[in-house]
């Protein structure tokens, strides 16, 4: 018997069993579909996160006060460990090109009767450079503003929108807490950074923020390395540890009272997240294909029993044991491969729908099809057919022709 004949027989058998074949395949369909869907969503999310990280640039780093607990992603903030003296020391480092400290100003932000809740940042001119901020209208904060502690503000586009709507904000006065500021500029959109909207911000001079808050510490510092990121990173850690009296020869981030974030670290977090996701998907795939495979084996065993007389007849007509084995094995594989195919199509379709919905909320989310996951899911479906089809098929192949023919 030729292989093409076994495929023909299997196709006929699957076609004739119709709905039952579909139910048999359902486990495989759901398993493969889930894997393809989750891989696609995972790949899309990875792309979104990579987009957030790459806006930071390879030479930039951010220092937060606080202690890192557990993994790299857990930070407790709200500490006051980064002082102005620290800032001055960091500015002296040769390996650091520019230092841009940030102080948050709390309080209600209003324009006339309009009220909004942007983040209000006290920053220097360097922040503008470090963050690649571009101006859409007016100007950025300059050294004059800083030295003269002028009550001026630059708005992010969303903050401008929320406060002013269709009114031109240039030259208008907004109120933050107890102080008023004249709007001198509006920035171009930045998008989101680390999942915070970087466009709903109000920037005022750092010196003003110091005066207004009375704060003796900064909320965070962004820095740009001169040449080597690694050298700058080591210098920053050494400087802060020395100043804060921290003994940390083993470079254990849990002992520090500050946390350094960089795109390299973010990639590392992303790596651990994707590894977790991959493990999760693999577990789901294994469980569902196992369940699906047991379903296939069960139905194939029933099918062999039901078709005992057919097997006897085929043997009487000259089918060898291996012909019967191949026939039932091909049938089982055909069920899983068909199920796999439907699952892949369904998974891709759902991932595409998900992308269409999510992209409304998260504009950087795009549909990504992970080809490797499609191929792997498909191969696993194929292997499930072989593994779980083997036992029913070999039972069929071993039947004695006369006993099979007499089976009632």
């Amino acid at each position: 018997m030729k292989t093409i004949d076994s495929i023909g027989i299997a196709l006929g058998a699957v076609r004739r069993s119709g709905f039952r074949a579909f139910l048999t395949m359902l486990g495989i369909i759901i398993g493969v579909g889930a894997v393809v869907l989750m891989s696609s969503v995972g790949a899309s999310m990875e792309k979104v996160i990579l987009g957030q990280i790459s806006s930071l640039g390879p030479k930039s780093m951010v220092i937060f006060p606080g202690t890192q607990e557990g993994g790299a992603s857990q930070v407790s903030t709200g500490f006051n460990s980064l002082t102005f003296e620290d800032l001055r020391e960091l500015e002296k480092l040769r390996s650091i090109e520019s230092v841009a400290p940030v102080i948050f100003i709390p309080g209600r932000t209003t324009f006339g009767r309009e009220e909004a809740s942007p983040q209000v940042f006290g920053v220097r001119r360097t922040f503008f450079e470090n963050q690649n901020i571009e101006i859409a209208d007016g100007r950025w904060l300059d050294d004059n503003d800083e030295q003269g502690a002028k009550q001026v503000a630059v708005l992010g586009p969303d903050a401008a929108d929320n406060l002013f709507g269709s009114v031109d904000p240039m030259g208008k006065r907004i109120r933050v807490g107890d102080y008023t500021y004249t709007v001198v500029g509006v920035t171009k959109p930045l998008g989101s950074q680390f999942f915070q909207n970087a466009d709903d911000r109000v920037y005022v001079p750092f010196s003003v923020a110091k005066n207004v808050t009375g704060q003796r510490y900064v909320n965070y510092i962004t820095m740009l390395a001169t040449d080597s990121f690694d050298t700058a990173f080591e210098d920053v850690k050494a400087t802060l540890r020395r100043r804060h009296g921290i003994e940390n020869p083993k470079d254990d981030p849990k002992k520090d009272d500050f946390v350094v974030r960089s795109s390299a670290q973010a990639s590392e977090i992303l790596g651990s997240v994707s590894l977790g996701l991959t493990l999760f998907i693999t577990t789901i795939a294994t469980i569902s294909l196992l369940v699906g495979g047991i379903g296939i084996m069960n139905i194939m065993l029933v099918s062999v029993t039901e078709r005992t007389r057919e097997i006897g007849l085929r043997k009487a007509l000259g089918a060898r044991p291996k012909d019967i084995l191949l026939q039932f094995l091909v049938e089982a594989v055909m069920l899983t491969v068909l199920g796999g195919l439907i699952g892949v199509l369904g998974g891709v379709f759902l991932a595409w729908i998900a992308a269409a919905i999510v992209s409304n909320i998260l504009s950087t989310y795009v549909f990504v099809l992970s080809m490797s996951s499609v191929v792997i899911a498909f191969l696993m479906a194929f292997m499930t057919g072989v593994i779980f089809g083997l036992r029913p098929a070999s039972r069929a192949a071993r039947l004695h022709p006369i006993e099979a023919l007499r089976y009632e």
């Binding site: 018997m1 004949d5 007389r309 006897g312 043997k315 000259g318 012909d323 023919l405």
Partner: protein, 242 residues
């Protein structure tokens, strides 16, 4: 010249859970090419077992079975399957057609397992066999849409399609009314006249008398081997019977 089938001191014992049941004892028999032989006996006499051994569906426990001059004792399961695919064929009492499958597909079935017939010739050969039994107009019917007599004629066409050396018919009229039974016996006699060797197994004298030789089996032994009796001729042609 070598005989088609020659068996010497053949015995068969079935073992089931350590209990041995002897079914055939010391059978000696020769069948020549072109014969139409009926193996007749009551149920439990061992006639079906004998047919299964002669048809390579089962193997003897003792004695010799020589087919076309060759001993068969050393044949593997694959060798037996190959002989069933090419040398012998069967017509069963219960027809054993595949359900939800057309007449043509049923008749083509044995060709799947025939090593020498090319794929391109399968349909042509099947159509010829269907024509021989007068069912050309029914070739695309599903097997379930046929009457009992028609089903058995499809089974005969299926037995013919590989052009075997022997056709075994196991109670071929057992599930049929008498008119359909006559049609089936007529078809078998027509094949015999064309030179086919036919071995018929039945418990009915009337059916057995369509053959030219009757071997009576009783309690696992040959009781009588009779030739030269007045043969029953099935009247009419296949086409005008139900």
């Amino acid at each position: 010249m070598t005989s088609l089938i020659e068996i010497r001191k053949l015995g068969k014992v079935y073992s089931n859970d350590g209990v041995e049941t002897p079914v055939l004892f010391d059978i000696n028999l020769t069948i020549e090419k072109g014969e139409f032989v009926a193996i007749m006996g009551p149920s439990g006499s061992g006639k079906s077992t004998l047919m299964h051994i002669l048809g390579f569906l089962d193997t003897p426990s003792s004695g010799e079975f020589i087919f076309q001059g060759k001993k068969t004792e050393a044949l593997s399961e694959d060798d037996l399957a190959r002989i069933r695919a090419t040398r012998v064929s069967f017509v069963f009492q219960a027809f054993n057609l595949l359900p939800r499958t057309t007449v043509l597909e049923n008749v083509m079935l044995p060709l799947l397992y025939h090593p020498a017939i090319p794929v391109a010739d399968r349909q042509k050969r099947a159509l010829e066999a269907i024509e021989t039994v007068g069912l050309t107009s029914r070739k695309d019917f599903l097997s379930s849409q046929l009457s009992g007599g028609q089903k058995q004629r499809v089974a005969i066409a299926r037995a013919l399609v590989t052009d075997p050396d022997v056709i075994f018919a196991d109670e071929p009229t057992g599930n049929l009314d008498s008119a359909s039974g006559v049609a089936v016996m007529n078809a078998l006699q027509a094949l015999h006249e064309k030179g086919h060797t036919i071995i018929l197994v039945t418990h009915e004298r009337r059916t057995a008398e369509h053959a030219e030789r009757i071997i009576h089996i009783l309690d696992g032994k040959i009781d009588q081997d009779v030739r030269g009796f007045k043969r029953v001729v099935a009247k009419g042609t296949a086409a005008d019977l139900k």
